[in-house]
Symmetry: D2
Subunit: 135 residues, 4 copies
């Protein structure tokens, strides 16, 4: 298991499963979003409050590879690392089933930071995540 | 079939079905919300724009009886009537499967109107829905 | 605070909030469903596995009063009690914000038990929840 | 505007917007899924019925670039093309706002076909989509 900067345990909720009896694909994106926002809280900021201040982190691109389907009753963990790539803050987010740590999904989420709707160079990301961004 | 003041046709989307292969209960509430907001647009207002102006219609109570389950591939129609009850605007919303018009769900949704977070007497409802509210 | 038979702590996920910056009404129904299914697991059964065996608990009626809106960053607890009323198993589910225990929503969810699509008298409920159903 | 093999018009539903007052990212994936399943119906098959027969199309990978955010009140169209790439059926799905046809999202969704849980070579895709797959 490679090392990650943050992780969040969750459990499948049955309404997240679709008629194939597996978690619907879009919900993995929800899981990854929630993990990012919890990481943000750990770093001392809140997504909703940032929005009130006119600061919006928005997703520019998402890539998800689906490996193993989560089903009713499964627990899982979202593990993530971050990196700056130009103006973007990139989240590498992997979802593992618990307790066997089988890889379920591998995601790459690229976000940019808007200030009152205008694209920034992402300096705020550096500030908030200074402990985790490599120099 | 009784008469209704507004109706909106929709179709089940597969991600709205859960592992029982039927539309998840909470989604009927979504369908009813969407019908209310479309009715609002027909009356000349937009829910998002009202929020920007500090006006928020919020749900105070919801009651839904589930009669017949919608499944993958089903089309349906949400039909509604409104009534003022004190400060509340009450929506009676029934969902029928198409084309056989079988009753799927019967809902009663009570909403109140907030102006910058403070409860109003609902005068704005009277104004917006004057054509439909009985004198 | 009255006594409850089961409780489940959760946290608002930002995607559950709508453009009014509060948790969308339908999501309270999701929270209540998840609490019921976790209670079911505590009682030794799993909703998905029951479905595989042809046994489906389905919601016949739901009533929710909305008292205080949950917002981004809020933690909350769903607390519930159950009672048999004829063929129905009724869940009384209240949602309180944490840590101040402010009441956010009060729900009553009536469910029936289907065996291969046919309504049962709900004997299976008695069996599964025998520890919690009053004699 | 390039040519597409299928398109589906939809309208933003307010519950799909999050606290940033824009459609939540995961919902674009829902829109794309719904367009694929409607295309499948046009081709004569139904996703739910295929599942009942033991045939499951599952997503192996998704890539979405987000260009312009959809907001409350927006109408939009999902336009798609398909191609076979080995065992995969690839959907190129673009979402345009209406009526100005501004590009909102550009998606690539790779799916595989399982028969009773086992990976197939995707022959069923060829059969169902024979009219649209280039020889």
């Amino acid at each position: 298991m490679k090392e990650y900067q943050f992780e969040l345990e969750m459990k499948v909720r049955d309404y997240e499963c679709d008629l194939q009896c597996i978690v619907n694909n879009a919900n993995y994106q929800h899981y990854m979003e929630h993990a990012r926002h919890e990481f943000l809280e750990k770093a001392g900021a809140n997504f909703g409050q940032l929005h009130q201040q006119g600061i919006d982190a928005v997703v520019a691109k998402v890539e998800i590879e689906y490996k193993t389907s989560l089903i009713s009753g499964d627990r899982f963990v979202v593990k993530l690392n971050i990196a700056r790539e130009g103006v973007k803050l990139v989240f590498f987010e992997d979802i593992y089933r618990l307790p066997d740590l089988k890889l379920c999904a591998r995601g790459k989420v690229e976000s940019v930071c808007l200030d009152r709707g205008r694209l920034t160079r992402g300096e705020l990301f550096d500030e908030i995540f200074s402990k985790w961004l490599k120099k």
